[in-house]
Amino acid sequence: MKRWKYFAVIITSLLLVFTLAGCGSQSLSSQNLYENDKKTKTVTWGVKADTKLLGLVDVKDGQEKGFEIDLAKAITKKMYGKDAKAKFVTVTSQSRIPLLKNGNIDAIIATMTITPERQKTIDFSNSYFDAGQSILVKDGSPIKKVQDLNNKTIIGVVGSNSVQNVKKFAPKARVLQLPDYAQALTALKSGQGDALTTDNVILAGMAVNNPGYKLQGKAFTTEPYGIGINKGQTDLKSAINKALSEVEADGTYNKLIMKWFGNVPGFNYKEVLRK
């Protein structure tokens, strides 16, 4: 029976260690990330690696490319000058908030919608993009709108709010959550689900090089994307907001929209142009 005593000891000590760890994690909020980054002239952004048009790793050179990447670079330069550098850390919907809270990254620009639940944990910049949730289906699918998904299987991504949204519109839908978009899309193609749900702009990017799949129906939610920032980093937040409005005012924003979305079937870029 001795072993059981040890077993209990292990578990209690594990619990203790992690509770203590949880208490010890306050140091980050006392740092001023805005001033830290000013010294190094580098902002570390959490970006997506699997989302075409927004943030995708290019097989040719291993670099991240997309609208969010370009926007992050533009914002960094507005914040700290022409020679400032944007550093990218690839995140998934699951890992982005833990990484931000832990301080691996300074800010998240990774298709993250501003939601009240998330605002309890982190802060957001002003919205930098207006997406809406939609569904991607195979050509000829009987599913015409989100409500048709009751009693059907729908694929989403762990950590995205789309999986929670879809339950409001189709409460009887069966939801499968996969680790990232690349896998979610492949699972849809393999017939693991009847539709893939996430924001229309992400789906549009998928439809581009996957003939036989299309965006179905109108967007059924509005998903304003915001840059995620840790609570208490007010200097960083206002600097990002200021830089964002400058990028919008001087036309860089619209140029980037045209560059990435100007020619995407099923996605009307004019709706997302600013000013």
């Binding site: 010890g24 140091s27 690696a49 291993g62 990484l99 832990n102 978009y181 690349a182 193609k189 996957n210």
Partner: protein, 217 residues
């Protein structure tokens, strides 16, 4: 057929090979580190030092009995609470090292146990210190006995690095996903390529282990 030719374009293959390189890099660094740490922990557990051996033993048992995926999450999401913020590749190396050290510690301990205890006693009787007897007499024999187990642990480690794809470590599995994410027709060719790459590396190692085993016997 065209799918296979397109999927195996040099750009894609090069990208997969870059992933394989990271896989090997992570595995080699982790195996070296965990061999050292594992040896120390294994000897501590074997030596029955009051309290210390027990505590080390518990830690080994707990970590050994958790899924590696969980260790990866703890390192990547949990460690920063202690003020250490690893990037993905160092995080993967650290997670692998923590996990593998515990596995290797057990291999080392049972290797030492398999050496005839009379040898230790004899060396002590000849006036050697415990540490001397361990270093010169027991360990060399123990390591020889453990080679097959150690190599197969190394092979497991290479295969297990694929789990690190969950935190977007740019290793072979992750690069494979990026490549077949481009085009639906690439899935099978990419899976075949990944399987072949893993197989070649792991199988070569297992042949090497059999060869060494035969030479030593």
């Amino acid at each position: 057929m065209q799918n296979w030719i397109d999927a195996y374009s040099w750009i894609n293959i090069r990208f997969l090979l870059q992933g394989l390189w990271i896989t090997i890099l992570i595995s080699v660094i982790s195996v070296i580190l965990s061999f050292i740490i594992g040896s120390v922990l294994g000897i501590i557990r074997y030596a029955k030092i009051p309290y210390l051996s027990r505590i080390v033993g518990f830690i080994i048992d707990v970590i050994r009995n958790l899924p590696l995926l969980l260790i990866i999450f703890f390192v990547y999401f949990g460690l920063p609470a202690f003020g250490f913020k690893p990037d993905t590749i160092p995080a993967a190396i650290l997670a692998m090292t923590v996990f593998e050290s515990m596995m290797i510690a057990e291999i080392i301990r049972s290797g030492i146990l398999a050496v005839d205890p009379g040898q230790m006693e004899a060396s002590r009787a000849m006036g050697m210190k415990m540490s001397q007897a361990m270093w010169h007499i027991v360990l060399p024999q123990a390591y020889k006995k453990m080679i097959p187990a150690l190599v197969s642990q190394f092979i497991s480690l290479i295969k297990d690095t694929s789990l690190a794809t969950i935190i977007v470590v740019p290793e072979l599995m992750q690069h494979g996903q990026v490549v077949y994410g481009q085009d639906p027709n690439y899935i099978i060719p990419v899976f075949v390529a990944m399987a072949v790459m893993y197989f070649v590396v792991c199988y070569a190692l297992s042949l090497l282990s059999k060869f060494i085993d035969r030479r030593m016997a």
